[in-house]
Amino acid sequence: MSGRTPLLEVDGISVRFGAVQALERVSLSIGRGEVAAIIGPNGAGKTTLLNVISGFYHPYEGHIRFEGKDRTHLKPYDVAALGIARTFQNVALFKGMSVLDNIMTGRLLKMKGSFLLEALYWGPAQRQELEHRAFVERIIDFLEIQAIRKTPAGQLPYGLQKRVELARALAAEPTLLLLDEPMAGMNVEEKEDMCRFVLGVNDEFGTTIALIEHDMSVVMDISDHVVTLDYGRKIADGTPDEVRANPAVIDAYLGLAHA
């Protein structure tokens, strides 16, 4: 799309759960540095698509290429190690842990070193901890959550939990960030903040972003590229303006929303 080099290419993947065809030969390509949105009615297969990309599900046909290499059958752990991070539709934080510790868990894959050195907090282990902490502090500063650094995540209002989740995903320094409904259940102000942060992440860290979102004004505002799914099939793919004008999309999704 849009002439950029593709970062992620999904080529004709299909996923089936029993009799339900969740995805049927879906292909799409996400360019490096772009903000791509995946939209579609409930049950269209958006989250399944995200799960396939992040390695939770494996397609029975088709291929996924990330940075030009085939990555179809990797485990989530390996996918994360490649530089793909995600947030979840339902907030999935460690509720009893502080915001800081939650975000630090996002650094897990970047940490190396022996158990013994870590336990003694000595030498390279200490140096490493400080480096990670410094990086996490940059994210805290970026997402403006300094005031809740030490607050247990479970005590935070929903909008802030979503922001902490984003922070944790960013802590992994992803090349591709997958956001599953980052603004769901938020009020207008929280949505505006989140939009600002998503664009900021894209701008400041150069992260490529793929997000699922239902709020059409958000999608049309912040995406470079919109993919529309319906009943597991891709029905449209293009710039926000192209997708908005596509009759199939209007029937399947926008039409419904405006009915």
């Binding site: 902490r133 410094a134 805290i140 500063d141 970026f142 300094q146 005031a147 900021g200």
Partner: protein, 664 residues
């Protein structure tokens, strides 16, 4: 009255108004600090979760680079620099840098909307702006079309600004680079510029957000600020080891005095919190020894603490409550200068270990030696709470036109209802006809920038009209009673300060709202609203049956209850020479609550005097006519918008007038 005339002026000129020409500007003082205090911390900032310290040497070096950078951009003596952002070290340095070049910093409120910003930037003729981040850059870029004099916008935090291509934009880092280059090409130039400054140069223009009309730019000189700061530092015994947290807007003269002026004069460290939301937390990490907060902040700190107390385990909660009561009794006795009794003294010693100490530590106030409250009257409960914990909170009175300070309460001479005695060097008198407080002293501003008319109205032969009405009590303390324009006279000539009386009345938990009338009348009368919740539960406890607000308000028992409160106010007024004649002779309890929907009060709960005088003219006439009751009809607007009529027969009651000069 004779006593009042005798104490018509308080305070005296101070010999220390002279300044050493080698140390008569802030830049010269910082050069001196860098030499004398060197590596001692001057300012800290919490960034990325860590407190970063800058010594006086760094303070000078950073300010020098900014000054040299500005010079490289063509800064000329007398140019103005707009400063916008949260309290950040680079912004304080930019102020000093501007002063070092013989220019004038003009701090703006960081939450100003574009229109306000445009007015000030244009009015002050700012050529340069040093701002914190993208938010402020955006605002100034919009404003620039209307402010042709604004040439450069320099920002500290580059986030989000990478794609901005406006040629007038410059990061602070780039500015400092240019400064380094300029310094290499013109060695020693800046030192000469600093030496050229004198104490009578303008140090800052502080724009005051006028409640009416456009903001006015208060011009203060180095002499104003340095002498005032020096006198206050000596008065409180502040030194290089003190710590202050800079969290109130930089555009406010108080922050300029505490976080910049006094810090430079005495060498103490200023601490900039991480963000507005982390102030309470950062406060605890720093543990300031010197602290300032307006009453609303004192109140919100108290609320956060009490919520946590309420959440505590029941026995713990009971213990905290018990010892706080002890502390309050002891503090009341101390303020009234009587002994609190052996039992309470022993309990309070125990309370210090169990409750007061830990609580102070939690508030981040364990190390506080001096704390101020100012800006508006502080509630007596609130004031007592902090003082009873052993936190030395004192009231302060000042304004931008006085370089922030006029009066401060002395340690050990703190009273609930006064703002203390004049700062050394400050004289105060009360205008005989209007009751307005006038002052003069070393901090008196030079005038309003480009506004001789307003200057003439405020500044007369060196005396400044504060716009506040006040009285001087027997011990030479100033008490502010009201805004001067609201103060009137009874026909007998006695001063009538309605808000002062109303606030006294409202100290009673049973009185929710009060309106006092008396200007041009023979005596003072009051229209009162009972507090339905408080009076209702009082009535229930006494088995008094009532059907409605109107019914309850007209019960003879309730009138007796309120009469006691009014009598208490009268007794306290009797102790004040100027106000003894303004006691409340008659009052009535209104049959309905004053309501914003009926336009009787504003949405912020300020009484609309004129409207009430008109609407309740019949009741007021009744109060002055000697009738025992008045029949009224009043329109009420219900929540759903319907308009109904309430009819009532309102009783009129007399209150006891206490003899003048009687003890309270």
């Amino acid at each position: 009255m004779t006593r009042a005339t005798a104490a018509a002026t308080i305070g005296a000129r101070h010999p220390s108004d002279t300044l050493d020409p080698a140390a008569d500007t802030f830049p010269k003082l910082v050069v001196e600090n860098a030499r004398r205090l060197g590596a001692k911390v001057a300012i800290r900032e919490k960034t990325l979760g860590i407190w970063q310290s800058h010594s006086w040497r760094d303070y000078l070096a950073e300010s020098r680079l900014i000054a040299l950078g500005l010079a490289a951009l063509g800064f000329a003596r007398g140019d103005k620099t707009a400063i916008v952002g949260d309290n950040r070290p680079p912004l304080y340095w930019a102020m000093l840098a501007t002063q070092a070049l013989g220019g004038v910093p003009v701090p703006l409120y960081q939450d100003s909307i574009e229109k306000e910003m445009q007015f000030i930037v244009d009015h002050a003729e700012a050529r340069f702006a040093v701002v914190e981040d993208q938010e402020q850059v955006d605002k100034l870029l919009h404003v620039r079309a209307q402010c042709p004099r604004l040439e450069y916008i320099i920002y500290d935090d580059p986030r989000g600004l990478r794609k901005y291509k406006e040629p007038c934009l410059l990061s602070l880092a780039e500015l400092k680079e240019r400064g380094e280059k300029f310094d290499r090409e013109h060695p020693g130039w800046l030192d000469e510029e600093i030496a050229r400054g004198t104490g009578d140069d303008v140090a800052i223009i502080c724009y005051t957000s006028g409640t009416t009309g456009q903001p006015k730019g208060t011009v203060l000189t180095h002499r104003n600020l340095i002498v005032t700061a020096r006198n206050a530092v000596a008065f409180e015994g502040l030194g290089p080891d003190d710590e202050v947290v800079a969290y109130l807007p930089m555009a406010w003269v108080g922050d300029h005095m505490f976080s910049f002026g006094q810090s430079v004069v005495s060498g103490f460290a200023t601490n900039c919190p991480e963000s507005a939301a982390t102030v309470l937390h950062d406060l605890r990490e720093i543990g300031p020894t010197y602290f300032f907060a307006p009453p609303r902040i004192w109140e919100s700190i108290l609320t956060t603490v009490m919520i946590r107390v309420d959440d505590a385990w029941a026995p713990k909660r009971a213990m905290v409550r018990f010892f706080l009561d002890v502390a309050r009794r002891v503090e009341r006795a101390r303020l009234a200068r009587r002994s609190s009794g052996l039992g309470d003294r022993l309990l309070s010693a125990l309370g210090r270990v169990l409750v007061y100490g830990p609580l102070r530590d939690n508030l981040g106030m364990r190390r506080i030696r001096v704390a101020y409250t100012a800006g508006e009257a502080i509630g007596p409960e609130l004031f007592e709470f902090y003082r009873s914990l052993g936190i030395n909170v004192k009231q302060l009175y000042g304004m931008t036109e006085s370089s922030a300070l006029i009066c401060i309460q002395k340690d050990g001479d703190v009273k609930l209802d006064t703002v203390g005695t004049p700062l050394p060097g400050v004289e105060i008198r009360i205008a005989p006809d209007s009751g307005e407080v006038l002052f003069r002293g070393p901090g008196v501003f030079r005038g309003y920038y480009k506004n001789p008319e307003a200057t003439g109205q405020t500044l007369e032969d060196g005396w400044v009209h504060t716009g506040d009405a006040g009285v001087i009590d027997r011990e030479g303390h100033l008490r502010i009673i009201d805004r001067a324009r609201d103060v009137g006279r009874l026909t007998g000539g006695t001063l009538f300060a309605p808000k002062y009386l109303e606030n006294k009345l409202k100290f009673s938990p049973f009185i929710k709202e009060a309106v006092c009338i008396g200007n041009g009348r023979p005596f003072v009368v009051a229209l009162l609203n009972i507090d339905l919740a408080a009076v209702g539960s009082w009535a229930e406890r006494r088995g008094i049956a009532y059907t409605s607000y109107t019914d309850l308000a007209q019960k003879p028992e309730v009138y007796d209850l309120i009469r006691e409160a009014v009598n208490r106010v009268n007794a306290s007024l009797a102790g004040e020479a100027e106000l003894a004649g303004a006691q409340i002779r008659k009052f009535l309890l209104l049959h309905k609550e004053l309501d914003a929907d009926d336009q009787e009060i504003t949405r912020t709960r300020k009484v609309r005097r004129g409207f009430i005088a008109e609407k309740y003219a019949a009741l007021i006439e009744g109060l002055y006519s000697g009738a025992g009751h008045v029949n009224v009809e009043a329109q009420v607007t219900y929540e759903d918008g319907r308009i109904g009529t309430v009819r009532a027969d309102v009783r009129i009651a007399e209150a006891a007038v206490a003899a003048a000069g009687a003890a309270r």
